[in-house]
Structures are given as C-alpha cells and as structure tokens.
Subunit: 547 residues, 2 copies
C-alpha cells in the first residue's frame, strides 16, 4: 500500500466554525418549500426576483447593523489584495440599495424586487442563534406613496397565511418613525433646525423605549430622568430630562395601554354583552413580555373595528405641535385607510405605537409581524412566539450612493424563525418519507436490483438499492429503518428462480411489532410474496394504504 | 431640511466586488426551477438533502483546488479572533467530508446526500467566469461498490434529460484514475513501492495530457520528451522520457482514436449500408477542440453497441503488467455492465480514456458530462458546448478527519453552465411574463385600484398598481412596457361613474403597432371597455389568448 500522507500531519477537526450549523433532510426541503411559497406570493404581487452575491465591498454595505459601534463589528470582513475590504452581506436591504444605485438606468421605476438567501452576522452565537440564517425580503424602490407601504403590509399578511399561519395567529403591527420624532420634538429633545443637538439624550431615550419589555415603565421612566440602578447594583446614567418632558414621552410609551382604555370606554356605550367581551379582551391582560397583549387585537372584539381610528386620534393629539409628527400620523392614516378598503382590518394589520425597529436607517413607517400563539420556551415557560418579520421605509439608503433621494420601503421575513414556529405548532407536513429500499441478497445480481429501482423510479416512487456491504442482512433492515423506509424489497435466489419478489411493509411491521396481539399479527401480514412483474403495483398499493 | 451627513464623506461606489455579479428576474427563477428539478431526480434516487454553511474552517476544507500551490490561494479566507482561519467553501465535496466525519454516528451508512448552493473561488475573473457560482452535487459516502458509481452516472444522465437536454445532446464519459496510474506504471514512471519517485515526471506528463486539446498530439509528445517551444518562443522543459516510454503513454493518449479505428474495422464485416454509416460517423471527424468527436457516440451508429467492450479490451491490454491498472479496468467493466443492464448504452454513458479530471482527490472512477451540440462562441466560431458536470470516486477525503478509510463517490453539476446551455438552445421557457399593471388615473382613488389588483391576485393572476408618480400617464404605459406587462387596466373618473373599466391588451397592441395595416388595426382592437365586475374575466381571456 502507498504510504498515507495524512498520517504525517495532525488530523483536522471535523467541526463547523462556531455559530454555524448543518441542516439535514426535511430541514432543508421544508425551507426550500417555504421559500418557494413566499416567492409565489411576492411574484403574484408583481415583485421580481433579484439575487446579488454574498460578498459586497464594506464600503457599499455601510454600517447599519443595530448595536454596532466598532468598525466591521457585526460583519465577516476581510481584505482582498486588489479590491480592498469586502464582507459577507448582513442583510438583503443594503445590497438592494447598491444594486439599485448601480443598475437604476436599466430597472423599472418603481422597482419591486424580492430576494431570498442566507445572510451572515458576526455576533456572539447563542442557543438557537446562528451566524448564518435565511432572510426573504420584498422591497419597493422609487415610490414615495404610502400605497407602497400598505401593499407591503398586505402582502406580508397574505404571505404568513400562505405558509400556514392562520388568521388570528399573527398580527402585523405598523408604526411610523416620524411620530416618535414628533414626540421628541414636542418634548424638546429634537430641534428640526439643529438635528444633532440632544443626540446624546435621544440615544438614551430610544434605547430605554426599545427595552420597555424588560425594564417596565418605571425603568424607562428612571432612564429618562436621573438614571437607574439595575439588580446587580450597576448604575446607568439617565437622560436627565425634566418631569414634564418625561410625562410627554411616557404618553407615547404607554400609548397602547391608554388606547386600550379608551376603546374600553367606547365599549361602555355598546351592549352589555359586547361590553363584557371588550372588557375581557382589553383590560384583563396587561402587556407582558415581548409581543405584548395580542388578545386585544382579536376580530371578535367589537371595540377592535375602532382601534386604528382611536390610535390615530391619540397620536395626532400627542404630536400636534410637530410638523414631522403630524406628517407621520397622516401617513399612518393613509396606510390604515388603504388597508381597510382592501379588507385588511386591525385584527390582521394594526397601527401600534409600540413598534420600534432596531435598524438605524428607517425614516417613516415601520412594520413588524408577530406570531401571537403561545409556545413553551427552553425553560418550559409559556411565552408568545414573537417577531418573524420586520421592515419599514428607508428613504436615504440609495442616496448614499447617488446623492439623489430615492424613496424605498420593504419587509424582511426571518424564514428560519417562521419554520421553527410552524414546527412548534406541528404544522410542517411529514414530508420526510424515506425511499423504498431494495435489499441485496446476492452481490452478483446487482444489475437485477438496479433494474427494480429503475422501475420503481420510473413510476415516480423514491427508491434505492442497498449499497453497503450486503453480507449481513440484518444491517440492511437496520439501514432501511434508519432511512425511515416505508417498504423493503427482497429477492433471494429461490424467489428469483420462481419469478417472485418479497415486499415488506415496514410501517405496518413497526406498528404490529409495537402493539399487535398474535392474532392481529397473523391477520395482518406485513410481508407479501408477489410475482416479479407486480413489484411496482404492490409497492404502490402499500404506499397508498399509508397515505 | 435636516443636513445630510452623506455629503460630508465621499460617496461609496455602487459596484459589486470584482468577479461578482447580480442576477435579475428570470435568471433567478429559472435557476431555482432547475435546482428544484434536479433535487426531484436526486430525491427519487434516495438521496437526502444537506445544507452546510458557507463558512468552514480552513483546516477542514483542506487544499484540493486544482492548480493551487500557495496557501489559501483560490479561496476567500480570513482570520476570526476566536476561531482561527475560516473560509468560504470552494465546492460542496470538502464540506461533505467534514459533515460525514462530524455526524457519522447519526447518519445512515451508506449515506446518499445531495446539496445545492453557491461556492466561491478566489480566482482571476474572466468573461463568463465569476467568483461565486452554483453547484448541485450528489454523493454516496460509505459504499465501495461500483454500483454506487454506476448509479451516480445513471442519475446524471436522468438529470440532464429532466432539465431539458434530450438524449443525444449529452454524453457522460467515464474513466478510472487507476487505469492512468497503471499506464504510468507500465511506462516505468510510477513504482507502487516508491510512490514519490518520478513525481516530477508524472506532473509534467499529467499536465501535458490535460492540455491535449490545446497542444495536439505532437505537443504532448514533445513535453514527454525533451521539451517544447511554444508560439511565443518560450521553452517548456520536458519529462525527458525515452522513446519507448513515450510510445506507451501515447497509446493511452490517443486511445480514443485507435478505438474508433478498431470499431470501423469491425464495421467492415457488417452490411455495406451500415459500413458507410459507421465510416461517416467514426472517421470523418478527427477530435477537434474541447469535447472531441461526439458523433462517434451516436446510437444510430451500428459500431456503437460494441464501443465500451472494445475500449475495455484495449485498456486491459495496455495495462496488463500493472495490478492497479487491471483493477481500474475491472471497475470500468463493472460500471459498464451494470449500466448496460439498466439500458444506459454507450450513446449516453461511455467509457472514455480521455477523461482526466483536474481535482487531486480522485482515487478511482471519474465522470464528466458534456453537452455535444454546437454553439457559437463570443468570437462567432462554432464549438461544442463542453463540460457541465464532473465527479468521481474519492476514497480518502473522510479519512483526513477520522483516520479510517471511508469510500465515497459523487458528481457535481455546474448549474450556471447548464442554464447557459439551455438558454443558448432556446430551451428556457418564456417564464418572464410581467404583471398586469393597474394604472392610476386619480391619485385619491388608490383604494379602488388596490381593490382591482386584489381581485386579480385572488384569481391567481400576477398584478400590481402603478406606484410611481401618476401625473404623467405616458410614464405609466412606459413602465408597463419595461415590465413586459401583458395587460394594462385603466379606470378614469368617467369610467368610474359609468361602472366601467378599460382593459388594454399590450401584447396585441405591440404586434399591431409593429406590422398591422390600418384595416387590421380597426378589425382587431387591443383595447376593450367592460363593466367593472367583468374585469377579472376579461383580463383572464386576454392572457389565455396569448398562451
């Protein structure tokens, strides 16, 4: 034997890099299936496919990741000899801005495009958090119309239903960055003429609001004021705003709770029955944990029909002294009325001031889709599944390249999270059926066995010959078991002579082995001897019986 | 207006990194369609999906790229703080070896898997050569049986037919590394006991044989001897073999031509008619350019049925003094007879000694699928399309990790090249139909227009509202034209009042505009006024008429 070079050097470790993983079988095909379904909806809405490369120049990507301050943090980047710094894309939006700027003369305006594929984040991996994951985006570039945003929201709702999330199990929540800016203006920490003034204070306020789930109202209030000591005793410096400033901001922070109250008051004027129902739906549960109180969005809630109107009135009152804020409320109203006209009511798409998206580039409406059913987390606690998609309007991303403002809006679906949700609910089909396995009784008659699988495949059935060492027949059946094969085919020398084959129903066999009595076992044979020319028909019959 | 930060720093360039490109619309969907078709065939053969991450440790990937000597050359690699050097995968085989070594206790043996996705090569880009491209692989790990190799070849032929390459337009060529090693042994430049001796000479010989297309027989012969002066006057040192050594090697190099001759002689004994046909098919064309003389493989050639047998006899004679060589020929014979039994004759899968695959890790059978039809290259010259898939047996890749030999064999399809071939032949469907465009005559009635597209989509039709500035109606029709829309819908104020809509057949409109007489134009109106509630029916009717 030739000497083995590999022995001279240490063996490489058979491991993925940290934070990466492999996906097997149904994990892969179910994702492919979902992407295809989503692409179908996007396509029907007139969106065109785009696939940009995984690698972009660092310069083109820009720095728009949430919570990232240091250069290149959050991305996988490296330096090319001839091409400077390049990086793996961290989302599909930054590449779209580059694509549109590069090809704008050849693309239609507005340009509706969808894209799907992996993105990479150089972040600390955690349980269920990987450094490569799939996104599936749809964006409209070149339209400033709120009809574009409304369309994105409607399409998102349609998409969730198309992949198997029934109405009532999801909610698309819509807010507008301009409204929050308006509130900041009214509170005196944003001056349109001096956009950089109070940047420090606004940063503290934004981070505090984004953490409302964790800090609760009191914590947020403390961070707006002098500061907050956390459980470990660490003190976080506050924004040091006045009591009246804080009061204005808090009217925004607890807007949802106040709107719930107002809807409840409205319900007082309704019938006793619907009043009771509204009370139950609206006031019983306080927002708790990520995702908040979804029951109040339900369509069987009589107060629900009014929610978007009440919310818009509430926000308009809140920002009445800010031009930007009023513009934001007008935009929300347009989106709401366009959706209403198409039959998307607040039980599916709702105006909700509590949505604050992390990414820095949003300039107007922001969207978030959450699944409202409860699951058990890794510690066995009930919690709502939470966000599976997010997006918004980003009018300045293309301008980075061209200097000309190009309005754009879009949505990104976290496909892996959505798949996890469907699996959690047992809604993924059992598409993972193994192949029919033709066993090998006589190594020299491999051609006969190949001919059998060829016949089975020609009939559209999934089939294979056992290709391991055929000596130990038990290993062949163990293999079939591991493959989750529904049927095994056996043709020994005797059968061959008589023109017969044996067909073994492995699913029934397993059921019988588990719980049948001897009598049942006799009555329901799981192994059949049939003429060779009836092989395909018999296998088909067994597969049909288990359908 | 707020000041724009972007003005303070130079604008980023809107460009992909060198060697990368964007794919639009049908380019993306046609590829997705092809991948789905291929996955369907692989699945029917019992192969399971696997998706590994794009990023691997450099150590796990190893260095198996062809023509790469310097460390990390050929791959995109970078150093991670906590994880050492990592890189983008350059193929799907090296990751499979890592996956199998990592998960072997949980995977069935043999493990049949398929994988599809982009791979990255850090090579000099050229026309039509990109640094990111798609591969679609199928491999069987853990089977030493030639039935595994035969199955891969049969599946490859089935796959090519499934994606639209008809029988006769492709050929799967099979060779065996052991045969070439046997020839080297017979020629005295490979000693089984001293595998490293004559490595220099073998290197020269291999590179020369691999360049047969370009150098022709005389060039190869010169490189085996003293050396060769190329057209520019540069001299390449030869392997300095003796005349008798060169004679042995050349019997391998021109094996195909000699086998063609022998088949022609056999045909002499046949009828005059078939003799004439065989002569035409076999001797008329000398191998020329990449891919060689494919006509001689055609099934209507009476000599064809004998080709594999004649080839195997020829090779067996050539390597009769080498154990390894004889083993290689036996393997080819097994593959050939298994395929023959399944009806895959030499017009689809042929034993062909001229196949030399570039990758260093193959240890036994090697495969190559070529398309045999002619296309015109960028300089307008006719040439055969050439290779679209390749693979072979690599029994040592998993051993790198585990120390235990694990036999494996597989194939990789170059999906982008295959797509290019189908487009070249006009065999990609015109799936690129644009959406129905509902135009906007009155900005305030956006909700009405949205309702129309909602109805069209509910009927399964692709439809969208124009979302650009609606002021200039001409722009809307130009947009519809750019989108390749089949139909435009128009509802102005007058129509609205009368409960009517206008439906414009844009395909017919374009045809008429191009070549109709005035009379025809009058007779075949391309614009229809219908009641609003007949919108969907009318659009459907127009679309059906153009099907």
């Amino acid at each position: 034997m030739a000497k083995d070079k590999a022995k001279k050097q240490p063996r490489p470790k058979a491991q993925t890099p940290k934070g990466f993983r492999d996906y097997f079988g149904a994990e892969v095909t179910e994702r492919a299936q979902m992407l295809q379904t989503i692409a179908g909806v996007y396509h029907r809405y007139g969106f065109d496919a785009l696939e940009s490369s995984a690698v972009e120049t660092v310069e083109a990507l820009g720095k728009f990741l949430p919570d990232v301050d240091r250069p290149n943090e959050g991305v996988f980047a490296w330096q090319e000899e001839d091409d400077g710094w390049v990086a793996l894309r961290y989302d599909l939006t930054a590449p779209l801005a580059r694509v549109y700027a590069q090809h704008r003369n050849d693309l239609p305006t507005p340009y509706r495009r969808y894209a799907m594929g992996p993105v990479w984040r150089n972040e600390k991996p955690g349980p269920g958090r990987f450094r490569q994951f799939y996104q599936c985006d749809a964006d409209t570039v070149g339209s400033a119309s709120m009809a574009a945003d409304a369309e994105i929201c409607a399409m998102l709702a349609d998409t969730l239903e198309a992949v198997g999330i029934p109405r009532g199990d999801y909610i698309v929540r819509v807010n507008n960055r301009k409204v929050l800016n308006g509130v900041m203006e009214v509170a005196g920490i944003l001056a349109p003429a001096e956009p950089e003034k109070f940047e420090h204070e606004r940063g503290i306020v934004l981070r505090a609001i984004d953490k409302l789930d964790r800090l609760a109202e009191n914590g947020v209030r403390a961070l707006m004021g002098e500061g907050r000591k956390d459980e470990s005793g660490d003190f976080t410096e506050g924004a040091k705003l006045s009591a009246s400033q804080i009061a204005i901001l808090m009217r925004f922070v607890d807007a949802k709770a106040r709107i719930d109250e107002r809807l409840l008051q409205d319900a007082e004027t309704a019938s006793a029955q619907s009043k009771a129902m509204a009370a139950r739906l609206l006031s019983a549960q306080k927002p708790k944990g990520k995702g908040g109180n979804f029951y109040s969005y339900r369509s069987d809630n009589p107060a629900q029909a009014l929610r978007n109107k009440v919310t818009i009135d509430y926000l308009r009152d809140l920002v009445r002294d800010s031009e930007q804020g009023k513009l934001g409320v007008d935009e929300l109203e347009q989106i709401s009325s366009l959706l209403e006209a198409q039959g998307y009511r607040a039980d599916r798409i709702v105006i909700d001031p509590s949505v604050v998206r992390g990414l820095g580039y949003y300039t107007g409406p922001v969207f978030e889709a959450e699944l409202t059913f409860e699951i058990f987390d890794e510690k066995g606690r009930k919690r709502q599944f939470g966000s599976v998609a997010g997006g918004g309007r980003y009018d300045d991303l293309v301008k980075r390249f061209t200097g000309q403002a190009v309005p754009a809006t879009g949505i990104s679906i976290g496909v892996d999270r959505l798949l996890a949700a469907l699996r959690e609910k047992g809604r993924m089909g059992s598409s993972a059926q193994g192949p029919v396995v033709v066993t090998v009784m006589d190594r020299d008659r491999m051609a006969d066995y190949q001919a059998m699988v060829a016949e089975l495949r020609a009939a559209g059935l999934r089939a294979e010959v056992y290709l391991g060492n055929p000596k130990n027949f038990g290993n062949q059946l163990k293999y079939a078991d591991k493959r989750q094969s529904p049927v095994a085919v056996i043709e020994g020398g005797d059968e061959k002579e008589q023109g017969l084959v044996q067909v073994k129903d492995l699913i029934l066999g397993a059921q019988i082995a588990e719980n049948a009595t001897l009598e049942e076992w006799k009555e329901r044979p799981s192994q059949f001897t049939v003429p060779r020319d009836q092989l395909v028909a018999k296998v088909q019959e067994i597969l049909d019986a288990h359908r």
